[in-house]
Symmetry: C2
DNA sequence: CATTTCACATACCCGGGGTATGTGAACCTT
DNA sequence: AAGGTTCACATACCCCGGGTATGTGAAATG
């Protein structure tokens, strides 16, 4: 067990994050009561406020964690392919699949924009997944696979489409059908080749 | 002035809806305090609970109103065109433009999914705008303009894309660029003709 | 070993959603 | 038109839960 103070601090912080993540994912931000998160983590509300400035602060930390994991998962799946176009498709499919994870669905896709505000949410999203998408599109434009055009609005459109599709799939939508529909949309971007 | 009881009831209900709509749009659901909405409407909190079962109930009613208006606006814009394809484009552009309306942006696009829950929100969305989109796509498929395919997932993708794009535009994104990017995506759906 | 630091615990405040009950004017009945 | 009923609110209250102010004991420091 941790006797060292830094270790102890890190341990309780992690416990709060883990417990918070589970509850935020299961019950949604507003249903979660901070004192119960702390109690489940083996501490009191005071400890939580010692580590995070507010309930939203804890949520923010959880969001960052989940988002980073998601970004890595998508990137890892994309990098299994050589072809740029296949990288894009693989990344998109990985994103769609991860919508079934309650942590991603409820925390990232539903609650985060409201709790953190759309601006801050978008900034976080930018760092993790949205940037990769924009980079992939830029690379495809540079390679001539996709027609020359502003990348940012296109990335926003695709990002929104996939967010919604991930939720739709999580709610019972046919993931195969969603992937095919996305493929059709994407293929429209290709220069005739 | 209303002396009749039914008129009076309708008047206060409308006052609550109007005042609630403004505040929900300006400050966001959670920042709004119900008692102040009532006070601004010239009544007390008790009156609000006489008309709506909860704060979320008032919000739900506001959402339904805004969503219906939006649906009508989009439909009206679409119907100014004869060609099915142009109807789709016009409807999409009208939707994107309406993202600048704070009521639409904050209430419909940001808060509604969290407050009402994604399922209920989707059900409301289905009645108003999403159905029109699905119908338009179905008509285009029937006319042979768009390739035969399941319409529902495609509609979800486009709906999500436009939601996000509307928010992006409202936050300062270039609406012209978004329209063009959307056009490119849509044009990919056309059968080569 | 004395002192400071720090990671929490305890006790408290208070804003705001929700509820239970009161009230007077409109409505219906005879 | 008088008495009773309904109803559209107002008033007073409960209480959960986020946030804060302060206490405490063990680890770190010298």
């Amino acid at each position: 067990m941790a006797v060292n103070r830094a270790e102890q601090r890190a341990a309780t912080r992690r416990a709060l994050l883990t417990e918070g993540r589970q509850r935020f994912a299961a019950d949604g931000y507003h249903q979660v009561v901070l004192a119960e998160v702390a109690r489940a983590a083996g501490v009191t509300k005071g400890a939580a406020y010692h580590h995070f400035d507010s309930k939203a602060g804890l949520f923010r930390a959880v969001v960052a964690e989940v988002q980073q994991e998601l970004g890595e998962r998508v990137a890892a799946e994309a990098e299994r392919h050589e072809d740029l176009w296949e990288q894009l498709r693989a990344g998109c499919r990985a994103f769609l699949a991860s919508g079934t994870d309650p942590a991603v669905r409820r925390i990232l896709l539903v609650d985060a924009p409201t709790v953190l505000g759309w601006d801050e949410w978008r900034a976080l999203d930018e760092e993790s997944s949205a940037r990769h998408l924009a980079e992939a599109l830029t690379a495809l434009v540079a390679a001539g696979t996709v027609a020359e055009q502003p990348v940012e609005p296109l990335a926003r459109l695709l990002s929104g489409a996939m967010n919604e599709a991930a939720l739709w799939i999580a709610r019972g939508g046919d993931s195969r059908a969603a992937e095919q529909a996305l493929d059709r949309l994407l293929s429209g971007l290709r220069t005739s080749a």
